[in-house]
Symmetry: C2
């Protein structure tokens, strides 16, 4: 930015500081003089806890509100339910393992990795059963991918329902996976020439099963045993899950115990009664696997209001696409009349979250904030109304519409729609 813009920003920030209140006034701050710190804080005076007070560390007690949250009225039981990643409290593109949203169909299977087996059967030359140790003898890959539930933002089809990006967009997370390419495992068994589909099956009592085209299985899928460096968390499929980059989370079968190879899809419950999109004409879209280009502003947002008044304001958000990298994110502060290109910061990796920022000087007036992502395949995130025109309002899944936050003069933020 130019010198005058920077100076203007500095002036505004100084104004913000002055408005910061009594705490700052106890410190004498003047140009060219040494600030006098008169208080000695407790933490300067005493030794703190030593190493090994926690061999496995946990967050500060001051961060106790940064947790996954559920919506109690949404599901009849916690075993077949969902909770949400607190996107409003996070930054960057990595989700810490303890905050990755959960979606279970029969609760968290508690699997002893020594007893875990992965079977490959069906249209293969040699059916095989692998132990965890066997799997760790194949060449491995490390990839950062987002995982989004197909139902993320599902409650927004019929209008603004929930006040917070944790609830509207929190069924997404992004970690580094370590695993063996699914292709390697399938080729180890030998794929018969008439094979066209692969069905992963979970070892929980829902025995989650989905049909995956062989082309995708041989492309970039992983049989993964690590997330962010350590073993998968129990709620993410410990000790083994399928990674299906860019495709809906339901296909990333957790507690993976079997891979069947076949020549036709299996038409399982989770790809017929569920995870299909009922259109206005009574027909349903099926096999809508790819998660389309999408974005959301995570701060400010209803759970992350503006508390510092006018002046410099960091608008921060996430963008992602199942088709590859994000090419550009535009942000509007006036409900779509004017758009500015946001700054994407951090690694730009295919099928991974991207972090974007727009740094503005807020004049304190109402804002209608929206973000609009464009992926490298050229797809542009649609408005919610464009989606409704195309697909009606019966859908639950695949809502990638543009989200609007209304920032009010007092800094409070609400989930709204603009026509």
């Amino acid at each position: 930015m130019g010198d005058s813009a920077r100076l203007d920003r500095r002036r505004l920030l100084t104004a913000g500081l002055a408005a910061g209140g009594a705490a700052l006034a106890t410190r004498a701050i003047g140009a060219g003089s040494e600030p006098a710190i008169t208080e000695i804080q407790d933490w300067n005076r005493y030794l703190g806890e030593g190493v090994q007070s926690r061999p496995y560390g946990i967050p500060s007690e001051f961060e106790a509100n940064v947790v996954r949250r559920d919506v109690e009225w949404l599901t009849a039981s916690t075993e077949s339910s969902v909770n949400f990643t607190p996107l409003q409290d996070l930054d960057g593109i990595i989700t810490p393992n303890g905050l990755c949203f959960e979606r279970h169909h029969a609760g968290i299977a508690e699997i002893d990795p020594a007893q875990q087996r992965l079977m490959i059967n069906g249209l293969v030359d040699t059916p095989l059963v692998f132990t965890m140790e066997d799997l760790k003898r194949f060449p491995r890959e490390n990839r950062i991918y987002f995982l989004e539930c197909a139902a993320n933002s599902g409650m927004e089809w019929r209008g603004s329902q929930l006040n917070g990006c944790q609830y509207t967009h929190g069924m997404v997370h992004c970690v580094m996976y370590t695993g063996v390419p699914l292709k390697t495992i399938l080729q180890e068994a030998g794929i018969k020439t008439n094979a066209k589909w692969v069905m992963p099956e979970g070892a929980d009592s829902s025995a989650m099963t989905r049909s995956i085209p062989l082309d995708k299985a041989l492309d970039d899928c992983l049989v993964a045993f690590k997330m962010n460096g350590e073993a998968l968390r129990p709620e993410q499929g410990y000790p083994l899950r399928l990674v299906v980059p860019g495709w809906e989370g339901n296909m990333w079968v957790k507690w993976l115990r079997r891979l069947e190879v076949g020549d036709m899809p299996w038409h399982q419950r989770e790809e017929t009664a569920k995870y299909t999109d009922l259109l206005a004409n009574g027909k349903a879209r099926r096999f809508t696997w790819v998660m389309d280009v999408k974005s959301v502003i995570t701060s400010p947002s209803p759970q992350a209001p503006v508390t510092h008044g006018k002046g410099p304001l960091v608008i921060s958000g996430l963008a992602w696409s199942g088709k590859g990298r994000i090419k550009r994110v535009d942000v509007t502060t006036d409900g779509g009349r004017n758009w500015k290109t946001a700054r994407i910061d951090g690694p730009s990796l295919p099928k991974a979250l991207h972090r974007f920022y727009l740094d503005i000087d807020w004049d304190g007036s109402d804002l209608l904030l929206q973000s609009r992502a464009i992926d490298e395949a050229g797809f542009v995130q649609p408005t919610k109304n464009e989606l409704r025109l195309a697909r009606g309002e019966n859908s639950i899944y695949h809502n990638n519409g543009i989200q609007t936050w209304h920032v009010k003069a007092d800094g409070a933020v609400e989930n709204v729609e603009v026509s």
Copy 2:
């Protein structure tokens, strides 16, 4: 790899499977037939725990041995001590926050972020004091960096001391930081023309202080408040730490409360009595900030022996350099007579950990495993003896020598040196 090599590997793996023991024999595995699973595991029969059983997740109980560990005899108190990242259990390049090694000089300061202040004083136009909220109004960056303690591998100067890469190399971790460029903060205060150095000061009762050249401060340093997406962990400086990419960890001041700008270094205790390298001639190297190119094989290693017998074996390790990206890693299995280029997998980012693999067919004979990293600046990791010739054996810090693991026929691994 070619078809014949792949077939050979498959043959070896099948042999490995057959040797896998009784558990596999309960399943009828034959070419072309469907395996019969006769057992139903408990986890198939019952609902597991539901969502929100843990709003902030933790690892599986089966991973209870994947923890930071200390060496009790190493330090007199836990408040001025260190523990070590369990590198042997990890993969990829991201360290989960709960497993990042700790190094404290006066224990973990417990800081209320609402009370936290960052002061900028000294040779600046306008001394300033920032709250955490103030800092979050400046434009942010997200970067993945390794952090290595200067004393990492320090006990190896006089020969192999500790049996495990957790202890020999575990004072390193790698996370994504989110923060404000230090340059932005300094420019906000206005840097006087005679300024040449910056001194960060910690708010713990050790009041950690180091001298950093202004050039580095204006280059890639960050004032960071997030790691892997969430707030810094208490033991990593919550709520604010300095990030000094590629430079020794002691300079990454935790619980950051003050930045003083000056025209000379301050010659603090931690850059005179400590964190200097006493040479054989009685002189000491000072201001040895950059962490040189380094690597280590994390598996197999003493705490990660080979348990599956001969056949396919994944050799996995980490490489890093304070000078930028890793260009190549070579691995030898015979103590340095023959070297093969390892496969670097995952993102290759400057001043970040790199994950490498060499996938071999182990014939079951003794191995002398070593890795040798080369960075993009052209520096080659030296042997320990080359280091000793150059610097004597009085040093504690900056040991980036090549590590040797002796893999025995029974799969056990020992820390050894080869002449």
